[in-house]
């Protein structure tokens, strides 16, 4: 092998390493650019009054308290439905089910629905919860729709966490005379909790940011009052941002409110993601 080919190979190596590094820097650059842009435009708008007051003068001034509250309602509603149903389904799939037809059907359903666009779920929610079951455009309809959007993700991550509990835990517990459920409850689940929790937090973060599923089932732009029951429609941060910049009547006054709302939403979503990442890091260490 001549010296020139070796030199050539080394040069290719250097160039390609630089290209790879540059790609990663561009990728991270997008993240930094987005966070900086929203931060620079949004942070000056955010104040205590902005977070705690009602909007005034046809959404051109005032705060975004109803939107924050609405997002919290939707997140709590969809989070509790998807967590209860998803974790129970995951326990069944991982610990109880034999590999029969039903289990295969659920797997196919989960695999196919995890990547389905959220606007399709929105149509489903509109047809079933809003119209067929008569819940109307309401917090209940929106929560149910969002719960179905995140359900496949919750089931998947919870099942993975439960399956990764060491087999020796189950064997030791059963050998001591514990029943199946006692084994699951006291030996398997405690070691799977961090993994399950991580999945649920990420699902909640996703639900908080979803717009398409709630724009047809729960969200409203103009309101003068707060929702008083789960059958009322509500403002929500994500939809509020969209409505302010696309349906607003006075863009120059409403765009800053949209950036402020986007900053609040980002803070919520980034905070939840950070919590999930920290939790997972601690869990992987132990």
């Amino acid at each position: 092998m001549t010296a020139t080919t070796i030199k050539h190979r080394k040069r290719t190596q250097t160039v390609m390493l630089a290209v790879m590094a540059a790609s990663l820097i561009i990728t991270l650059g997008f993240l930094v650019a987005l966070l900086t842009f929203i931060g620079a435009r949004g942070l000056p708008v955010v104040s205590f009054e902005f977070i705690t007051q009602m909007p005034r003068r046809a959404m051109t001034t005032g705060g975004i308290m109803p939107a924050i509250l609405g997002t919290l309602y939707l997140v709590i509603g969809s989070g509790s439905i998807s967590t209860l149903l998803g974790v129970a389904t995951a326990v069944y799939l991982a610990e109880y089910a034999h590999n029969g037809t039903i289990v295969r059907l659920i797997r196919i359903g989960i695999d196919n629905l995890a990547g389905v666009p959220s606007v399709v779920f929105g149509l489903f929610g509109l047809a079933v919860f809003v119209k067929l079951l008569g819940f109307g455009v309401s917090i209940l309809s929106g929560s149910l729709t969002l719960a179905i959007v995140v359900l496949p993700t919750v089931i998947r991550s919870a099942e993975e966490a439960i399956r990764s509990a060491p087999q020796s835990y189950r064997e030791a517990s059963l050998a001591l005379g514990a029943t199946k459920w006692q084994t699951v409850r006291y030996a398997v689940l405690p070691s799977a909790v961090p993994g399950i929790l991580t999945g649920c937090i990420l699902a909640v973060a996703r639900a908080a940011g979803e717009t398409a599923p709630i724009m047809l089932t729960a969200a409203t732009f103009f309101t003068t009052r707060l929702p008083s029951s789960i059958f009322d429609e509500a403002q929500a941060l994500a939809y509020h941002i969209f409505a302010l910049v696309t349906e607003g009547t006075r863009p120059e006054a409403q765009a800053p409110i949209a950036y402020g709302a986007a900053f609040v939403l980002l803070a919520l979503v980034v905070g939840l993601n950070a919590a999930a990442i920290a939790l997972r890091a601690r869990y992987e260490k132990s």
Partner: protein
């Protein structure tokens, strides 16, 4: 006498014990069955939820497919749902979806794959534990925030750089979608590259290959199904994205002649028109037909990706890591 009493007492206590034990055992068995039934019921209702979702979309789409005809619906060149007589040809919408998806993929795939290679092969593990979550965070940000970012920064930039009348074009949407699909491609590809056994890499390096030769000639071919899966999932993500596209693509329902014109992909059409459509009208059902098309396309991409990822696992699985 005394012995008999003792024996009786012992027997009595014993039988009481057996009784209680039997009762406890029955109760335990009962609660076991109850828990099992409850969990099975939860799994069944998850199944019902997920399956009814598919059923409802197709059932609501059926009237439109029957009334309009599948050929006209897919190949018709005019989407004028509210004019008289209305026209429901989804070709402009499909073309717009294809255009922005292809644009997004040309950005997301090279950047995503190269980033994934750098993260999985070059970065030391401490740096990786910081960079990986950052890329995941990019995937977790709400799409409406991406839309705002596109409207506020990328659209004005596009308008100024290319001297266009409006910045809300298929090109702008492609950039925003590309950024959104990028972390999906990177994460799936990173998984694929990391799952290639260490021995492959070590053997190649030991034979005198450079790091780049090892990557391009050993690692990428070994992880090929996973790489294809990453691209397919990126396509699915870009095609199904709604809010960002609705906000930055501009929304003209004509077949785009260039990337620098406004366009209206399928997802944006559904989201924009559903709010103003009377329930049960032909327009209403035609939007479900669009959703069904979207569902079929994304499900096909996801299914193919799933199959490929599984093949990668069985191909490499069992080898020493």
């Amino acid at each position: 006498m005394v012995a008999g009493v003792e024996a009786y007492a012992v027997r009595g206590a014993g039988s009481r014990n057996t009784g209680r034990r039997r009762w406890r055992r029955r109760q335990r068995r009962l609660s076991e069955t109850a828990v099992h039934t409850l969990l099975a019921a939860a799994a069944a209702s998850s199944l019902v939820f997920l399956m009814s979702m598919i059923l409802v979309i197709f059932q609501q789409a059926a009237p439109a497919v029957i009334a309009i005809g599948p050929a006209e619906l897919i190949l018709g060149k005019d989407w004028y749902p509210t004019s008289d007589p209305p026209s429901f040809g989804a070709l402009p919408l499909l073309a717009a979806s294809a255009a922005v998806t292809v644009g997004a993929i040309t950005i997301a795939v090279p950047l995503g794959l190269l980033s994934a290679l750098f993260i999985s092969q070059i970065l030391p593990s401490r740096a990786r534990s910081i960079i990986k979550p950052a890329v995941e965070l990019l995937a977790g940000l709400p799409s409406v925030v991406y839309g705002l970012f596109g409207m506020g920064l990328i659209a004005p930039l596009t308008m100024r750089v290319f001297r266009l009348p409006t910045g809300l074009t298929a090109f702008t949407a492609s950039i925003v979608l590309g950024i959104m699909a990028l972390p999906t491609v990177a994460a799936v590809a990173e998984d694929a590259f990391s799952s290639v056994p260490r021995a492959y890499k070590e053997a190649s390096l030991a034979l005198g290959a450079t790091m780049w030769e090892t990557i391009s000639k050993v690692l990428v071919p070994a992880a090929a199904p996973g790489v294809v899966a990453a691209v397919l999932l990126g396509v699915g993500r870009a095609m199904g994205e709604t809010m960002a596209v609705l906000m930055v693509a501009g929304g003209a329902a004509v077949i785009p002649r260039s990337m620098f014109q406004p366009a209206r992909p399928i997802t944006a059409t559904i989201a924009a028109e559903m709010g103003e459509t009377p329930v049960g009208s032909l327009h209403y059902h035609s939007l479900f037909a669009l959703a069904a098309m979207l569902f079929i396309m994304t499900a096909a991409f996801n299914f193919a990706a799933e199959v490929l990822a599984r093949r990668l696992r069985t191909q490499i699985g069992g080898d020493a890591r």
